[in-house]
């Protein structure tokens, strides 16, 4: 019987965080006038009667975790001497000009890359091969991200957008006083991020926890305008639960799960990536 797990992270914003409509989309939707230096921040009502507050969609969290995980797997593969990229995330970014330098590996058997195995995917490296079974084209995600007890879109009953004025570098000179973008720097209460694994395995758990470290350092960021340094969030592992699905079905309580230490988690990832590299022809 497979195991399921849930990890909890505290989510603390380091600076502004912006989600929702950017300028282009907001223009297309008619939320702001064409050419206006404004953007629209997604907001939700907390509860049925609460006033709207800036919000961040929990569904957008997975992409950042996936990016961080792919980076970590690629780093591990390079440490192990991989001559090309090891994940379909990076292979899909290689255009024809550099394809000779980064050939797609041929695999000995049907398998998905380590990232698609955890986060799901369609068109993974395993599906690129020609003349093989085409049933292995899609892998469902084993992880799901939600916010718990927080003022995010998950708990909202209605959504609307509030206009925000952009401040551009030029605004500091001839065009008047600089206005600072300040979207959601101090969301209260700070959300709690919940990551559910079904099924759960050591690799997926270790990958998500280590990816949270990379995200927490600011290397990977959420939302829009990340190039400016927005969207940095400190994620701290709070607690975890892991148990056999059969026990839960019988009405049992999930068991507490202690995170492994850093070296153990790195070893788990190294073993998995090593096995993946060895599966190449």
């Amino acid at each position: 019987m497979s195991e399921v797990a849930t990890l909890y992270f505290t989510w603390k914003q380091v600076g502004p965080l912006h989600s929702g409509y950017g300028q282009t989309l907001a223009q297309a939707l008619g939320k702001i006038a064409k050419g206006a230096r404004k953007s629209a921040q997604l907001e939700t009502h907390v509860g049925a009667t609460g006033s709207p507050a800036p919000a961040f969609l929990s569904s957008s969290v997975k992409g950042v975790f996936r990016s961080a995980s792919a980076w970590l797997v690629e780093r591990t593969a390079r440490e192990l001497g991989a001559p090309t990229y090891a994940t379909c995330d990076y292979h899909s970014a290689v255009t024809d000009r550099w394809r000779k330098q980064f050939p797609v590996p041929r695999l000995k058997e049907d398998n998905f890359c380590p990232i698609c195995q955890v986060y799901g995917g369609a068109g993974c490296l395993a599906a690129i091969r020609v003349g093989r079974d085409e049933t292995l084209r899609r892998q469902l995600s084993h992880v799901r991200f939600t916010f718990r007890d927080a003022d995010d879109a998950l708990h909202g009953h209605a959504r609307w957008s509030r206009e925000q004025t952009f401040a551009w570098e030029e605004a500091s000179g001839k065009k008047g006083e600089l206005q600072i973008e300040n979207f959601t720097p101090h969301a209260q209460p700070q959300p709690r991020l919940e990551v559910r694994f079904d099924p759960a395995d050591n690799f997926a758990l270790a990958l998500v926890i280590l990816s949270a470290d990379l995200i927490g350092s600011g290397l990977f960021r959420f939302g829009r305008f990340v190039s400016r340094g927005y969207g940095a969030v400190r994620l701290t592992f709070e607690s975890g639960e892991r148990t056999d699905l059969q026990i839960l079905l019988r009405g049992g309580e999930p068991a507490l799960w202690e995170a492994l230490d850093l070296q153990e988690m790195q070893a788990i990832i190294r073993d998995k990536v090593q096995a993946w590299l060895q599966s190449w022809s």
Binding site: V14, E74, T84, R97, A212, G218, L219, V226, S227, R234
Partner: protein
């Protein structure tokens, strides 16, 4: 008379070197990703670094304009610094499919004083990934007063031989070229990796 230089912004269409600059950024990202993290900590060297530009008076404005200022400073220096500025992120129509825009490889963060910077670095989760178990930047003494700037770089090799990283180039820039900032210390908790030839 020691006259200060001028900071001269110019739009991309007036930049004759934009082609090589975009190529350097694209090549670095596509073939030179080093999967390493480099961090640079700098302090303000001069609050009026240019004859036509002085730093904003308030900290939020300084933090907001920081990245643009660094980019502008690099643009005004000839050679590789000017080319590499597009690793701060760029959008271009004159590029190949899928690489018409790329995000900044640098995460700039400003602090009002050394205490705030120290608290941020002590809480950085990558500190435990370092051999010493804490952020290498903390080994240097941080100044208590004055604004500080942290540049966290998702590093790339900027030459084809993979000998120089963007982090090393930015460190040199802050050490010798920038009129606004001065490098205090540099460190890396995840060292850049070289790719084995296929």
């Amino acid at each position: 008379m020691n006259e200060k230089p001028r900071l001269e912004p110019k739009p991309p269409r007036d930049d004759p070197g934009r082609g090589p600059s975009q190529t350097l950024a694209r090549e670095s990202i596509m073939t030179g990703t080093a999967f390493g993290v480099s961090c640079l900590l700098a302090v303000v060297r001069d609050s009026q670094p240019y004859s036509n530009y002085s730093l904003p008076k308030t900290f939020p404005e300084f933090a907001f304009t920081l990245k643009g200022l660094l980019r502008l400073e690099m643009m005004n220096i000839k050679g590789d610094f000017a080319k590499a500025r597009r690793l701060f992120g760029a959008t271009t129509k004159a590029a190949e499919r899928n690489i018409r825009r790329w995000r900044s490889r640098v995460f700039p963060l400003a602090f009002e004083n050394g205490g705030h910077a120290r608290a941020h670095l002590e809480a950085c989760p990558l500190g435990r990934w370092c051999a010493a178990g804490r952020c290498p930047l903390l080994q240097a003494g941080l100044p208590d007063k004055g604004w500080l700037v942290l540049l966290q770089i998702d590093d790339v090799w900027i030459d084809q031989e993979h000998t120089v990283t963007f982090g090393q180039m930015l460190a040199l820039f802050l050490k010798e070229q920038s009129h606004t900032l001065r490098l205090v210390t540099a460190g890396s908790c995840l060292k850049p990796l070289v790719r084995r030839a296929p």
